[in-house]
Symmetry: C2
Subunit: 245 residues, 2 copies
């Protein structure tokens, strides 16, 4: 028996999130454990770096599990890929120390959020982005993004996952990038609050459209007793890109 760590990717559209729930609900964890069982896994549960929400995608989710596997790791990756549905895949697998925990051992998480500028619906793009119109001010959004970098109490933008947990998080880097027909938000932090990225994206977008609300945004960062009461950006645009150890 060895502990293995796999980097997995998935299209979150047709899942009710990562965490296993009632049998009837399709989840990443449920499907991944199903694949593991088909290659002989007999444990109770896998561990994961982050419990992505319903509809959120991943290119770099990390899971770990204990398995009796008598072949190379590359063959474990292949065996799993042959036993997982088309919308989940293993990108890489390696052995990990027994004490490795994908969540508690993680030093940082890196997310991307994709926005598409388009007046009309676009069925070939909206699966992996948030379509918006009109176009917000890139300059304003870049300016206010600097305010979230560093150690802040992000209580205005979400709750801690564990009850009673604190809401201070450290953002290592954050930026908006312009693309041909949209923009991408990149953010890396030690950890994130529940729906924090999606709330930040929605709030920054509001300010990008109404630059006179900049100070309101700054107050949300400064004063964690406040709360972002606006919308939450849809799950389709969000992707967990990488977890660093």
């Amino acid at each position: 028996m060895e502990t293995y760590k796999s980097i997995i990717a998935y299209d979150g559209t047709d899942f009710k999130g990562f965490q296993r729930q009632a049998e009837v609900l399709r989840t990443i964890q449920g499907e991944f454990e199903g694949g593991l069982k088909r290659i002989g896994w007999k444990e109770e549960s896998i561990k994961a770096a982050g419990r992505t929400d319903a509809g959120v995608h991943a290119r770099g989710q990390v899971v770990s599990y204990v398995l009796d596997w008598r072949s190379q790791e590359i063959n474990l990756t292949k065996a799993l890929n042959a036993n997982l549905p088309a919308d989940i895949a293993v990108r890489d697998t390696e052995k990990a120390p027994a004490h490795f925990h994908p969540r508690y051992s993680a030093r940082s998480r890196f997310y991307r959020y994709a926005i598409l500028f388009a007046k009309n619906r676009d069925p070939l793009r909206e699966r992996y982005s948030w379509r918006i119109w009109p176009i917000p001010s890139f300059e304003t959004m870049t300016e206010i993004t600097d305010w979230i970098i560093g150690r802040h109490d992000f209580g205005a933008f979400g709750n801690a996952l564990a009850e009673g947990g604190h809401t201070v998080r450290e953002v290592y880097r954050a930026r908006w990038i312009q693309t041909m027909d949209g923009m991408i938000f990149e953010i890396e932090a030690n950890a994130f609050l529940y729906r924090m990225v999606r709330r930040l994206v929605a709030a920054m977008l509001e300010v990008g459209r109404q630059p006179d609300r900049k100070e309101e945004f700054r107050e949300l960062i400064r004063d964690s007793s406040r709360r972002w009461e606006g919308r939450i950006a849809p799950a389709s645009g969000l992707c967990l890109e990488m977890v660093t150890y």
Copy 2:
């Protein structure tokens, strides 16, 4: 009553192709006509530029229909988009002459086929591409692409859609483009045979991997009594980009 022409886009993944079939099968035509009915359309059938196959996508499919609409075309586009499922959308609508037929009036069709180079499955990319490995020779594929440009009998790569129809088609332009992690085939012709693009892509890819089979490919272009017996590239990579009138 006026004749309208709409440019539509769709993610073909969850459709059994364009053409309406038995009620239980989900088709683009069936869904689009359903949307039209919800805004008062009472005719028998829409017309379309091309009957894309199951799983094939479109950014520039063209349909026409006769409708009694007492408002601007932009409002017709909006009303349709509000009445169509998320995987079909209208990009633009305009009035057309009564004799307009999206298929018979078309001068050319332009398709793109996307290939992704990756060893392992990629759930966030394979919906819109064909994942292959190992990487074929771009130079060889570019060289043989020149042979298909112009007027040829493409009988080796497909059948005419109408029984007894001839198999001569004129390719106006065709090229392979290298991307960051794959390649894209672009082809414009006056018309295409059934599954012609997907057969051409698969055949060119084979030659790209076995350049000593170049002459075999040339013979298929020269001698229409031959037949490409190899695989057909999967529908997921193909997209009808534009129809020109």
